[in-house]
């Protein structure tokens, strides 16, 4: 469970980009974070994936107030979070396989053969079984995006965050990727997807978190805190559910 309480964030000496943000994310819930450009969506996600510390308020995550944790305690939390960055942030000099394998290698508790096995399985699942050794620059935007998503979920994170995950692809690819996220969420991962594309937000469903001028206006999910979009469905794709 994740809980923000009166969180505020300012960059440097500037005005607050986020003010008095309070919400709770139940385990396994699906949320769509919307708001106009500059509303603070990316900033909110940065607080969630522990890239930034809030300037005030508290952030409860996996049973700890992460704002009070020492710097050296944060990596273990980050390893439980998968992030799909707006610009993918893949390492261009590494193959798709190596990019996706990184989180497992960082975690360091699986032997290399098993890591390779899982990565191949997952890349096949997202339709890239034949591009395992391709470097990101040789992949299309949609393909890169799927590599980025695969990297975000390979470690079976407890929290999955996506910032404009369909920003660079055509509508049909956007639909497919959206279904991928919904599918992953059904496997039990708490998911937050930030987008300013309202049509996309509709098609994802889930609980709406709407940001405007750094304030959170919760919509949908029946008022109050955003809630789970639908009852968790048992894992479907046997091959993915296998690990």
């Amino acid at each position: 469970m994740i809980r923000f309480e009166n969180v505020g964030k300012r960059y440097g000496m500037g005005a607050e980009v986020l003010s008095d943000i309070s919400f709770t994310l139940e385990p396994g819930s699906l949320h769509v974070l919307t708001g106009p450009s500059g509303a603070g969506k990316s900033t909110l996600l940065r607080l969630l994936y522990l890239d930034q510390r809030p300037t005030r308020g508290s952030v409860q995550m996996f049973g700890h107030d992460v704002t009070r944790l020492a710097r050296r305690q944060l990596p273990a939390f980050r390893r439980r979070i998968g992030v799909v960055f707006q610009d993918f942030q893949l390492l261009d000099h590494m193959s798709a396989l190596d990019n996706v394998a990184l989180p497992l290698r960082i975690a360091g508790d699986l032997p290399e053969e098993r890591i390779q096995g899982f990565v191949r399985e997952l890349l096949s699942w997202v339709g890239l079984g034949d591009r395992l050794n391709a470097k990101p620059p040789t992949l299309s935007g949609g393909e890169q995006q799927r590599v980025a998503i695969a990297r975000a979920v390979i470690g079976k994170p407890d929290l999955l965050l996506a910032d404009e995950p369909t920003g660079n692809v055509d509508p049909s690819m956007a639909q497919r990727l959206t279904r991928l996220f919904v599918e992953l969420n059904r496997l039990g991962t708490t998911t937050v997807i930030a987008t300013h594309d309202l049509t996309l937000a509709e098609s994802i469903g889930g609980a709406r978190m709407q940001l405007a001028h750094g304030q959170l206006l919760a919509v949908g999910g029946g008022g109050g805190a955003p809630r789970v979009a639908g009852a968790p469905v048992p894992p479907q794709p046997a091959d993915f559910g296998g690990f």
């Binding site: 890239d51 990596p75 273990a76 942030q89 390492l91 960082i106 975690a107 360091g108």
Partner: protein, 293 residues
Amino acid sequence: MRGLVPVRFLPRGKSRGGLVPWVIAVMMYLCGLAMVAGLSLQGALAGWASGLERKATVQIVEPDPDASRRIQRAALATLRTMPGVEAVRVLPDDEVADLLAPWLGADVAQAGLPVPALIDVTFAPGRRVDMGAVRARLAARAPGAEIDDHARWLGRLYDLSALLQTLSWAVVVLVLVATAAIVVFGTRAGLASQQRAVRIMHLMGAEDRTIAGEFQFQALMDGLKGGLGGTVLCLITLYALSRLVQGIGGGLLPQLGLGGPALLALLALPLFAALLTLITARWTVMRTLDDLV
């Protein structure tokens, strides 16, 4: 490899500055030379000086050959009866001529110039000889014979060697500091050019030591390569130098050859360089990562 670097995430090859190992090689070359100089100065000068300390030279400057021979005999007799004197030897004229040749020309003897008579005195090892007493006895029994125990010269030699040694070690320290600085700059440049990869690793939950792992491995390799290069250059230089010293006829020059400690130090240099670069790179990366949340 896998044991040394927890996770590989940096591009291999050309993106890395290939210059760093070369600079380290030059640094380690200088370091090795200074180190050998420091170590062998210590040994060579100590040995050389202890040899000289046991020696003195009696000089008889007397133009009349008969008078000169008389004084010589008296001096020899006096010296032989003195406690602590192990051996005395009159240098034959041709040896004296050889000694003078560099200053007066090869044909001193033929020129009929009066040549001083020289007597080599060797004292027994481990005994303090009272030079004042020796001097007084000689003055009484063999007036005209002067003894020179090299004391003044030896004193200067000691001062010089102490200074040179201090200088050598100062050079070693300075070169090591400069090497560390180069590694800091090199690592910072590497961090800057791989900023994105470092940030991605950080956000995926890599521990600082995991991120530092590959940087410090690369630094270790640079240090090893540079250290080996520097040591090889050093050995070549010292070999050439010792050949040169032998050519000069090295009775006078201290043996610049490699004593045991100097050789050990030289062979340990690559490992030491690797350790220095590794620790420096790790420290640099860890400090830079501290700036991330």
